[in-house]
Symmetry: C2
Subunit: 127 residues, 2 copies
């Protein structure tokens, strides 16, 4: 279960959650925003609800977790990481929580994240 | 990223991939069939395509990986693990591969698994 570079499997349609975890996240300007720490799965639909990016040590803040809808992540083989269309300032305004908080993302916290990223909430297109 | 018992989050709709990994799998008779080793995500749809169960040391065979469609797993809080409707004999007949093989489940191998478990292939209901 050791994370390996996600790019290794980039020609395949499926990717191991273990490979997603540990992968870097950049913005379009090339700034490294953080690293995918965890993948949250919706038990009912079997969809990835969030990829949780950790982001920390910035301007002295502690480590924060930024849940990102799966659909906002694009894998960039050249960078060897995911790219999101987000400036550092937008990231600071995005819903986040302290790593130790253990927030329940299945409720209003999760909806707030989907609203922020203007992504289609996964729980609305489940049969 | 240390696996913790999946039951801890059992009242929530979302579960961490890290918690799924390491969780035991039983059949209806209560036999322990194996342990979830990995979660394979379809990059395009963001769906969990397979939970890969490891199963080994049985009758002298090496460790095998049994990919299971997410929909065949039911979490049983009493057992603290997943239950699948599968006898040991059915499991031995199920598509599996040696742990070291690194099989691409996005192609015919994956379809064979869905056919075996009579599950709806995830790639047919993606827009």
């Amino acid at each position: 279960m050791t994370p390996t570079p996600a790019g290794l499997d980039s020609n395949r349609r499926l990717i191991s959650a273990d490979k997603v975890e540990g992968t870097a996240v950049y913005n379009r300007a090339g700034d490294r925003l953080g690293t995918i720490e965890d993948v949250m799965i919706d038990k009912i639909s079997g969809r990835v609800a969030f990829a949780v990016m950790s982001f920390g040590g910035f301007l002295g803040m502690g480590e924060n977790h930024h849940p990102l809808p799966w659909s906002v992540l694009t894998y960039d083989t050249a960078k060897g990481g995911y790219v999101v269309d987000l400036t550092r300032e937008q990231l600071e305004g995005a819903p986040s929580y302290a790593a130790a908080e253990n927030v329940d993302l299945s409720d209003t916290h999760g909806r707030r994240v989907y609203d922020y990223y203007k992504a289609q909430p996964f729980w609305l297109d489940v049969a």
